[in-house]
């Protein structure tokens, strides 16, 4: 389009944050098949606060609580190593979390109004894994200070090593350590339960399947829907009463994106966290990937009513049994890229615990709640990703982040069905 993107984020310094106590253990953390299937993707979480808890940075108490927290997370401060057979694993060598400090030349409100997905990636630090990963830091933290106050804390990692829930729990535990509260979800490094891993083969050496390279430029936008908009839609459209906000918003975006793509786009990939879906639920602190990717099909979805699609999605999610999860685990990654190989819809309903969205409870100072939390997946496939995330206001509202090829996104932004809900659109790159 000819608009040269100016870089508004300037990285000032880089250091390594260490854990407060040596790990004293030679334990290594191997990767599961699910982990290896995610190896093409990277994961980034960005939390925006209106007021920064950082001061001088070197002597802040926030740094001390970070070090104490890192003692509980040896894989975060460890390094990836190759065994003699070429298999990757994480060694607990205490090398540390790479931490960068950056300054943004605009204010936080201006940023949320005018930045897009590419700008947001400047808020996180990333480097692809080199051939010799011994000095390569897998986990990276970037502290971005906005002009006039406000901060964005960006945490990145290879998707092979953690999923969104793991990173969210880590950030929340950091705030709990800072406020001297008890850590609600301490990390758990036990392997996946055997009920899920019984028929899988031994871990295959990493061989990423070939898939089509992403050639189209993608754009991102985030739609904030209020609780009242959801209730209004339920009443007007007469959606079945048991529909959850995820069902409704996922259905809405599936049908509208299908329309924009102008194919009778019948298949989506649904991503659901299975920690709490197992008969012996995994704790929220389970460290690693615990995601179920399953396919959902519907013919001529663009012409279907939202209620109908929502019911289909609801049935699909409610019927996720252990057997289904296990068979999906065996097939994950067969088509190449996990996210975006088909249009992927990510469910984050599990992050709402007793009505409170976990990521918005990550509070460093009392009364300073995050104004927004973004999740970004790196190397997303050409079909795009729709993420339905909890809203900062408790209730039925949701924040939906959409990544699509540029052309399709520009059509989606003016779609009347979506605009009927009166969403607040942020981080869409509107200048």
């Amino acid at each position: 389009m000819g608009i040269v993107r100016e870089n508004r984020v300037e990285v000032k310094s880089m250091l390594t944050a260490v854990s407060s106590k040596p790990s004293r253990s030679a334990r290594v953390h191997p990767f599961t098949t699910l982990d290896n299937a995610m190896s093409r993707h990277t994961l980034h979480v960005i939390v925006y606060y209106p007021r920064s808890p950082f001061g001088s940075f070197d002597l802040d108490s926030v740094r001390i609580s970070l070090s104490e927290l890192l003692s509980m997370y040896p894989p975060v401060v460890g390094r990836v190593a190759k065994t003699p057979d070429g298999i990757l694993e994480v060694k607990r060598n205490d090398a540390g979390l790479r931490t960068l400090k950056a300054k943004v030349c605009v204010g936080i409100d201006e940023w949320l109004r005018s930045a897009d997905g590419h700008d947001e990636s400047d808020l996180t630090a990333w480097e692809d894994m080199p051939e010799d990963p011994s000095t390569w830091a897998p986990f990276r933290l970037q502290i971005n200070e906005f002009e006039g106050g406000g901060v964005a804390i960006g945490l990145s990692c290879p998707h092979r090593q953690a999923d969104a829930t793991t990173l969210t729990v880590l950030l929340k535990s950091w705030t709990e350590a800072q406020r001297r509260r008890c850590i609600v979800h301490p990390p758990s490094f036990s392997p996946l339960p055997s009920i899920l891993t019984d028929d899988t083969d031994a871990v295959k050496p990493n061989s990423a399947p070939i898939s089509k390279p992403i050639s189209t430029k993608t754009a991102t936008a985030t739609f904030r829907f209020s609780s009242s908009a959801f209730k209004k839609y339920i009443e007007e459209e007469g959606i079945f009463p048991k529909a959850s906000p995820f069902d409704v918003f996922a259905a809405l975006f599936w049908t509208r994106v299908a329309l924009v793509k102008r194919k009778s786009h019948d298949r989506v990939c649904l991503c659901v966290d299975f920690r709490r879906l197992l008969p012996n639920p995994l704790p929220y602190g389970f460290f690693g990937n615990a995601l179920n990717f399953s396919s959902l099909e519907m013919t001529n979805v663009a012409d279907q009513g939202i209620g109908h699609v929502a019911r289909l999605i609801n049935d699909h999610v409610t019927n996720l049994t252990v057997e289904k999860i296990r068979s999906d685990l065996n097939r994950v990654g067969e088509q190449g890229l996990v996210y975006g190989g088909d249009l992927t819809i990510v469910n984050m309903e599990h992050m709402i615990v007793e009505g409170d969205p976990m990521m918005y409870d990550a509070v460093f100072e009392d009364g300073v709640r995050p104004v927004h939390v973004s999740y970004r997946i790196g190397n997303v496939g050409g079909e795009g990703v729709i993420m339905v995330m909890p809203s900062p206001e408790k209730g039925f509202g949701r924040v939906v982040s959409v990544t699509l090829p540029e052309e399709e996104m520009s059509k989606l932004l003016v779609d009347q069905e979506i605009l009927r809900f009166e969403p607040k659109i942020i981080l869409s790159g509107v200048k």
Partner: protein, 497 residues
Amino acid sequence: MPQAPMPELTSSVKLKYVKLGYQYLVNHFLSFLLIPIMAIGAVELLRMGPEEILNVWNSLEFDLVQVLCTSFFVIFISTVYFMSKPRTIYLVDYSCYKPPVTCRVPFATFMEHSRLILKDKPKSVEFQMRILERSGLGEETCLPPAIHYIPPTPTMDAARSEAQLVIFTAMDDLFKKTGLKPKDVDILIVNCSLFSPTPSLSAMVINKYKLRSNIKSVNLSGMGCSAGLISVDLARDLLQVHPNSNAIIVSTEIITPNYYQGNERAMLLPNCLFRMGAAAILMSNRRSDRWRAKYKLSHLVRTHRGADDKSFYCVYEQEDKEGHVGINLSKDLMAIAGEALKANITTIGPLVLPASEQLLFLLSLIGRKIFNPKLKPYIPDFKLAFEHFCIHAGGRAVIDELQKNLQLSGEHVEASRMTLHRFGNTSSSSLWYELSYIESKGRMRRGDRVWQIAFGSGFKCNSAVWKCNRTIKTPKDGPWSDCIDRYPVFIPEVVKL
């Protein structure tokens, strides 16, 4: 067969008792002489009876003038004696700086930063790794915040912040422990070898704590790792001249500006060993402090070998080929340290060794000079003179060398080795961390004598001898409070990195 070890055992036991008997005899020689004399005198007096004693007394014909003169003479001699006796110098208390956990440097982080910064010099990286593996340091030593950056940011501001952080934290703790008010400080001595800004660090302390305008402040720089004991010596001399005063000594080394940024191997060594640390010490000559003081200063001996060229050049600060300033350590450092120690021991030996050892040494000296020059020189057993040893934790080699030369056991050098493991080489303050270790282990009893030995560039060897004034209870806070239960640890010869 069982008969063979028995004679060895009995002979070694016999030798031990012979040695013990000899030591008791020589050390308490005067008592051994006096007791029979007193016994004989008492028996004589008892035999003589009261009338005879009175007769003897009268026959001496004392008159008033004689008695008065004698009394005045005695009083005069006693007054001269008490006036010319040096004042007792007390160490009231001291405080060591404990760095925050964010400054910790695990081996993996150190090596990773080294590889990232020196990416074109793999040989230098290898060298640093070999040094670190054999250094005797642990995973909890700390470097100042500026050195954690990639690349390090050793600005003058960063150096000043490090100085403020370590010095003010240690001094706040000292003021709290001793209840001293800043305006009551009479003498202030700050020693920091490699960072000497204007205004000086002592002026910085005076500014922060609003000390008195007639304070006697001294800032010592450039004097190396033995500057701590040089400060103690200076404080002692000043306290002799100024009655009823106290002195605060701050010993530290500021790492930030001196982190070597080049890749000359001999100059990379200090990067691997020097770590962040500081100590603040309160000394006093006030009589009122004699109840609460921890130690009394018995002796302080300074030996300077600078007149010898080899000693002078062995620790030398210079620029490398690319213009980076660093400290070059010569390969004969250990030999020179050994020589300096011998010179120091020759002076301190007669002051501290019991008579038994001095006699043996004298006899062996006479033997070597007159009879047979090839006789092995007798090394006096310093374990008889001291209960505790604090050897400057300059590096594993220094501690090994001194342990061998002074024939010390593992427990004697434990404080030094464990301080090197937990805190690294903190330069002039390391002696105070070691002393704190001994106290934290509950080993310091009243009457125990401590020998602090420090080496420094120049080449200097300084020793201080302290006598414990009161049994010290295990401190509840202090640099060792959270980890003393884990110590002593076994430090392997080579740590696999």
